[in-house]
Amino acid sequence: MTLYHGARIALGIVFIYASYDKILHPAAFAKVIYNYQILPGELINLSAIFLPWLELTIGSLLIIGVWLPGSVFIGNILLIIFFCALMYNKARGLDISCGCFSTGTDDAPQSNLYLLRDFSFTVIAVYLFIKVFMSDFAHSR
């Protein structure tokens, strides 16, 4: 198993794991999104319904290894959006639960930990992006 395979599978597991609790509890996840106070009300439930399935789908694709350009691209976008949302709420001092891997409300939200965690996933995702997109450039030359 190469680093490339390891990274794909690791990121895939992260996304699938992240989707699990949210798919089971859409109402609780909607509340988590609401607490972020970023999205307008009309988009909260739609995000709560579809975002977990997006995570599950790209997580599966990453592991199976099909449609990699699409899934790696979306994975990068998601992680960057999550990072910005966490950063934004840290900056304005909003002390909320991450809702990253569970829909529960943490007793003591730790935004630094959330940011660091998301950042490390983003590193993996960017690595995969370079691998997938650059190698394709090389092939098509």
């Binding site: 997006l54 699409g70 030359r141």
Partner: protein
Amino acid sequence: MTLNSGRIWIKTSRQVLFIALIVLVAGFCSNKLRSDKIPLVEDWSEKSNPVTSSGENLEISLAEAANLFKEKRSIFIDARSKEEYDAGRIKGAKSLPYKEADWKFVEAMAGVSENSSIITYCDGETCELSMELAVFLRNAGYKNVRVLSNGWSVWKQNGLPVDTGK
């Protein structure tokens, strides 16, 4: 990058479109079929937001509340149950559980003037008791009522003075 590098973006766009389609169908169907389904669009504007029906925002920041506390210029009112209040509260806070506000009100608010600065709080980001109690008190004639959102948690986490016991 070569001229051909455009191809991967065409491929990527097509895959993103397919993935979006799968997600749309899966999300929509699963939500349609499950027993605990949620509406696609729901009005979130009035939930636990410390904004009154007339659009006034009652939220007070922790810094401001802590300042008023230090200068002893505000009365803190705990909107949670008496048990939770006994287990731990903002130092000097009065207990007025929102659920029992109707009949505990007179006793709890004895000696509090209608012009006093009042800060209500409960616990949890999504706790609505403090807001409901604030509206209740405003209707009862108290003009200066504010809400410290997630009050007990943020107070405790910031090491501000607390009390326990009955």
